[in-house]
């Protein structure tokens, strides 16, 4: 019991306020992945509103230096890499 509580408090990382938005996004993603993406319907990005809400929450709460640094680095890689039309982000 004590151990579980201890773990629980450790896991209360900075992104905990995003837990609901995270679950909503992951549920949507999982459904899209198994019902569409692997079946050849990859022409359209889905779960966009779930993603935007979750992502906005993450960027507010991701306090861990390692991860937020990574988040920025990754974003700039994708940004400069992106050849397709969605160039506004």
């Amino acid at each position: 019991m004590g151990l579980i509580n201890k773990k629980e408090s450790l896991s209360s990382s900075s992104t905990k306020p995003c837990a609901q938005l995270r679950a909503a996004y992951h549920d949507c993603f999982n459904r899209w992945y198994s019902e569409k993406f692997v079946k050849g319907q990859w022409d359209k990005e889905e779960c966009v509103s779930e993603w935007n809400k979750y992502r906005a929450c993450l960027s507010r709460h991701l306090e861990d230096k390692h991860l937020s640094r990574f988040l920025e680095a990754e974003a700039s890689i994708y940004h400069s890499d992106k050849k397709d039309s969605s160039g506004f982000n």
């Binding site: 995270r22 999982n30 992945y33 990859w42 022409d43 359209k44 993450l58 390692h66 990754e74 397709d84």
Partner: protein, 185 residues
Amino acid sequence: MVKAYAQEHIYKHPWEIVTSASWRKFTDQETKPTLSHILSVDTLNRNLDTQAGKLYTTRAITVNAPGPWFIRKIIGQNICHCVESTVVDARSKSMQLITRNVSLRKYIEVEEKSWYDPHPENPESWTVCKQETSIKIKPFTALASMAEKVEQKCADRFLQNSVKGREVMERICKYLESEHSGISI
């Protein structure tokens, strides 16, 4: 000091199901008691190439730091962040995952690469998972002599967890398959 492992496992489920299970492995509610070392999983980035049918995803996985209490005491934290980069090519049916720790790299570097591909002899219904793991503990002066023991412990823990991981994968595959057959009726 580096320890490297290679593993191969055949899932008797189709690639579509196994890779779906792989996404759900750490986020599924029922999984939590089994993979209790996983504290949280966040998706940091996603990018879909709608032309090629390729999906690029980056996730942050927070785990309980490996090693005994005295290591934790020195490192000063109990958790470790890993970053998992995944590429799924739906057209050619391949999935590749690379997971690395981003914190504690001063002390330890773990890299795990996994590939999920249709089994060459039974591509419609079986999936091969290949995994390569390297664990490198950096010897730091005060603990150099203990580092090897820690490395071994870390490796043992890793192997235990990978068995647990496969059990979880099997359970999710079966669940997804029953869900599928339910829909088709």
